[in-house]
């Protein structure tokens, strides 16, 4: 198990101003982050603005040292023994970089395998397996520059597994990939966790991806953890209450305003927004019968009225709006 407590990272940055002048600045990229990764589990790391996600990953992968905090890796102090950690982790980043384009897929994997000191026969076998796993059979001896985006990305995945790591850090792994490849990749990530018992940490801009894959989510804002829990915990936390979508024939602003006044008479704190031709209602109270009654009273023809489960995306957007409006509010 990976466990970090109260991680903090302060960078000292030199910035060149006009001509020769250099200004030193201290930047607190990560203020206080604690998290856990377990074998067989997928955790998501989401960031709002200037979150410090990248810095956190770099600390977890021992590329940089935290300024403060503790990091235990399967019972070992990881800050003191980065070499032990390095053998058992790997990272897979999205995008087309980070592999050698002039080398073939096989040569890329061979090279990285050598860096991990893997015995040649074992490495040979492993490369064959990985190539098959990521569906690059028959392409392994072609230079990477001839590959499509998706193929390069798949090679990245094979590369990230070359040392058979116990823990894998996925940094935006599906960026720029099409829907089909993304689907396959998701399947693979789930398989890695559930069947192969790998501990996985995923960061992504695609919140639907995190929603689909992650068992547990950490939400970071400006270097601080603002929330942790399952997706359900998060939506419950952000939207305490119910949300309804309501639309009628000839929906307009006037109807929305009328509805708002009507519903506020029942629940003073209820909200009604006019979004995409629908009224979106949120309230702590159970309002569906009231909304239907409103439509009947006003003689409106209902097109749609249903209760919605908020998505992770809506929760995160809402939460970041809350943060902007009220300042940080830690769960």
């Amino acid at each position: 198990m990976i466990e970090v407590n109260s991680l903090k990272k302060i960078y000292e940055v030199k910035r060149r101003e006009k001509f020769f002048f250099i200004k030193k600045e201290k930047i607190e990229a990560v203020k206080n982050i604690s998290l856990r990764m377990e074998k067989g589990g997928i955790v998501g790391l989401l960031g709002i603005n200037g979150a410090g996600k990248t810095t956190t990953i770099k600390m977890l992968t021992t590329l940089i040292e935290p300024t403060e905090g503790t990091y235990t890796f399967d019972g070992i102090d990881a800050i003191a023994h980065p070499d032990i950690v390095k053998r058992q982790i790997n990272m897979i980043a999205g995008g087309e970089r980070m592999i050698y384009w002039k080398l073939t897929a096989y040569e890329n994997l061979w090279y990285y395998g050598q860096l991990y000191g893997i015995e040649n026969n074992l490495l040979k076998k492993r490369i064959e397996e990985l190539v098959k796993l990521v569906g690059l059979e028959g392409k392994a001896d072609l230079p990477v520059e001839t590959f499509s985006k998706g193929m390069k990305q798949r090679l990245q995945i094979a590369r990230g597994m070359i040392n058979d790591p116990k823990y894998i850090f996925l940094d935006e792994p599906t960026i720029g990939l099409d829907a089909i490849v993304t689907q396959e990749l998701h399947k693979e990530i789930r398989r890695l966790a559930k069947e192969k018992e790998k501990g996985i940490l995923l960061t992504s801009h695609y919140l639907s991806e995190v929603e689909e894959l992650c068992d547990y989510i950490y939400l970071v804002n400006a270097g601080e953890l603002v929330f942790e829990g399952t997706k359900k915990d998060l939506t419950d936390y952000v939207f305490s209450g119910n949300r309804y979508i309501f639309s009628v024939k000839g929906m307009d602003e006037a109807i929305v305003i009328k509805l708002r006044d009507y519903l506020r008479g029942i629940d003073f704190e209820s909200e009604v927004e006019h979004l995409g031709g629908n009224a979106v209602i949120s309230s702590k109270a159970e309002l569906s019968s009231n909304i239907a009654a409103f439509a009947v009273d006003e003689g409106l023809v209902i097109n749609e009225l249903h209760k919605v489960e908020p998505s992770l995306e809506q929760a995160v957007i809402k939460l970041s709006q809350n943060i902007e409006n009220k300042g940080i509010d830690i769960a």
Partner: protein, 269 residues
């Protein structure tokens, strides 16, 4: 040790595959030194060459003197170039993966320099042939001396390359380092002007460049038929230089890694 050699060979192979079929290699190994060689050669024509005070230089073997200089220069340049390529791995993001692995950094860096020593050797053979073809009469070679000088020459360039690699790891402004190091080397290492006519202060600068000793040794054995006995001093200095460079490389790698772990400096994106 086994892992060290594995990484060394892998890095060497990767670097070779990644850059050797690049046109840049040929241009920088052959065309540029040739153009510079010619420019220096013709600039000598403005002078009364017979008036030079260096024993083994006369109008006749001047081109050979220069050609050896540029051959050495091209060799050393190729290792610096490899370091420059290496620094590009930072932009490519692959450097981060190397640092993510437990591989020995020293093996990576030396493997990298080693691949360019190989490339440099190809250039050296070509220049050597050119030399023999061009002016055999001007050569006055001591074969044993030459046999002793070549390995030292290779080791010196390897260590220089490794040291450059380590420096380039540290600096973001690798282009700048390149300009600052490349041109002074041409002048101070005695590529076109023999070091022994330098004023004292300039000789001090020459000391920094291992190419200075490598060239002096190479010229002595090829132009002056100097034997191993005559070259003792140069050999000893070269070995010291090699050791100094080697330790400087180790220290730099250590410092760089510590610095990077502190500042996370390898993230450019």
């Amino acid at each position: 040790m086994k892992n060290f050699i594995k990484v060394l060979i892998a890095e060497c192979h990767k670097q070779h595959r990644n850059y050797f079929n690049n046109m840049l290699i040929y241009v920088s190994l052959f065309l540029w030194p040739l153009l510079s060689f010619m420019a220096s050669y013709y600039s000598y024509k403005a002078f009364d060459v017979e008036g030079s005070i260096v024993s083994y230089i006369s109008g006749g073997n001047m081109p050979v003197f220069l050609l050896i200089g540029y051959m050495g220069m091209s060799f050393f340049r190729s290792v610096v170039q490899s370091a420059w390529h290496f620094s590009q791995e930072r932009q490519g993001g692959t450097l981060e993966y190397i640092y993510l692995s437990p591989a020995s950094r020293i093996a990576v860096i030396f493997g990298n320099a080693l691949s360019s020593v190989f490339e440099g050797s190809v250039a050296m053979v070509v220049f050597g042939m050119l030399l023999i073809f061009y002016n055999k009469a001007a050569l006055n070679i001591n074969l044993f001396g030459l046999m002793a000088v070549i390995p030292i020459f290779l080791c010196a360039s390897l260590c220089w390359g490794a040291f450059m690699n380590a420096c380039f790891l540290y600096s973001r402004d690798s282009d700048f380092l390149f300009t600052v190091l490349e041109e002074p080397m041409e002048i101070f290492a005695g590529v076109k002007i023999p070091v022994n006519i330098f004023p004292q202060w300039a000789r001090l600068i020459s000391c920094i460049f291992p190419l200075t000793y490598a060239l002096e040794a190479l010229r002595q054995v090829t132009l002056n038929a100097a034997g191993i006995g005559d070259m003792k001093k140069v050999f000893i200095i070269s070995i010291i230089i090699i050791l100094v460079l080697f330790s400087a490389t180790l220290i730099t790698i250590y410092v760089v890694e510590r610095h990077m772990r502190k500042t996370g400096n390898f993230i450019l994106f």
